[in-house]
Amino acid sequence: MNTVERFIETLTANAAHVSCIRQLDEAIPLIERFMQEKALPPRLHLSPALQREWPVSNGITLSHGTTDGTHKLCASRAWAGIADTGTLVLLSGPDNPTRLNFLPDYHLVFLRKDQIVADKKAIWQKLEQQGALPRAVNFISGPSRTADIEQTIALGAHGPRFLWVFVEG
């Protein structure tokens, strides 16, 4: 199994949804269909990084920036993916507000195939090379969950109930 396949397998095992697309515009119809199925208002909130590269999507009303919790669907860009644990790495910055990772019900994350690495070792090196770290480095391995009541796992504790990862390329 190659690294990308392994990443998809482990992330799916972590209760995330994964879609493979060749480029960004292929995500639009998938998102539109999802909104219809879930009867969600066709509104999507983007991180500034994604907003700059977002293709025309007439069916969806877009907004961008950070969030105050009123945006149900938010989308961000990841910096890396880790195959052996099914983990996304997101870095905070002017282009990537961190609230988007935790406040929405549905969190959509975009990642290119070439950003996926085998394990965390490579990540530590990459981060140390960066020099000073960004304010927040978020490792996300699936949607929010809790087992605090009777050891039973329930999704959507405080953070996103639904994590949808788009692997591009």
Partner: protein, 474 residues
Amino acid sequence: MIQRDARQFIPNSEQALQDTTLQTALARAKSGFLGKRRKAIALVDDFEFLKQQAQAAKQRALDNIPALLDQFEHNLNAAGGQLHRAATPDDLNRIVLDICQRRQAKIITKGKSMVSEETHLNTALEQAGLDVVETDLGEYIIQLAKEPPSHIIAPAVHKTRQAVAELFRHHHALGERDLNEISNLVEEARQMLRQRFLAADVGITGANLLVASTGSIAIVTNEGNGDLTATLPPVHIVTASLEKLVENLEDAGAILEVLGRSATGQAMSAYTTFFTGPKRPSELDGPEEMHVIVLDNGRSDILQSEFAAMLRCIRCGACLNHCPVYSNVGGHAYGSVYPGPMGSVLTPLLEGLNQGHVLPNASTFCGRCAEVCPMGIPLPDLLRKLREQEHRQQLDSTGWRMVLRFYSWLATRPRWFHLAMRAITFTQRLLRDASGTRLRVPFSNGWNRQRELPAAPDATPFLQQWQKQQERKP
């Protein structure tokens, strides 16, 4: 009523054993934790290797704490954050309160922090009139119940879903609703806490790691409450203890490899975040201020003592889950902030032997805690050392001391010892039960109810046989 006093362990555990709801909850928790951990470890090629890496990383840090703390401070300052050193629990509480008052804070959200339990921070803040909300679901439940945590990673593990539903009905004025399913309870807590996250003036979290080379603190959660607490309010305060320091990100990574697997049976918890300072000028979100308070509370002394290994503890909870004592009496019986084997070592060290000397006796020395501890802490050895100290400081009971003194007198006088042995062999024949294989010792029903004392066989005792054999030799 279970008492919050470590010296009351024995009466507390007697009560806990009678509590059928608690027993149901404990049995469920135990099988859950053990199964999850076993599966997670079976999935890695060489868990022993990961454990060694983690232990080496932590040991490197413990050998160099003062320098690492300085380095951490330097890097945290460079990122715009502020370090505070708290020698005692009161110091920590005062520093937090000062920050809250300077910011004129009213609502405080909190992520899970065992250090803040250690300093009784909530009480200090509430006494100052602040509104403190625990946001980890388990912590929230026990806050409503006005109880201390009963497990270091699953604070409400002693509560059944019915008990949680009852608490929610009592505290949330939401009218008639279905709270039979766990998912309904989780959803209700989500709605209630969401408002508080957004309204909070200060967020307080613990830290699983302090990374010296970058000045970062790491928080591991599954709910995401730690991140919301750290990100939404204008001020983020971190309460951590000295031994959370590691040298660099790679060492932090080595510890993360064993933490999730040992604690919840996850290769990686849902959220692991490294925070480095407050909001940067160009950023759209994040707190305006970030404070990291590092608590000592005797740890510098522990580091110099024969108990230094205890500071390798990463609070994974595996030793609690595998302890036959903990899984029968639960966390509250210990009457201390930290329960189970790790708590039985830490409590006397942090609170003094006077307060905690009973807890090292709450062990059968079965050794399972040391076997499962990812940080290789020799818990039974440390417990034994504490028992020795207890005895040396004459804190154990007079009756017990007399028994020990008599035994040591006897055991160092072979002639008397053999005589006594012969007398015992003889009298025990009179105490055999109907089957002839067990003994009934008068006045020890409490002991006999749970265990059996095997009767000695009728054959000639070993020493007599040996003597005879020696005599026969030319």
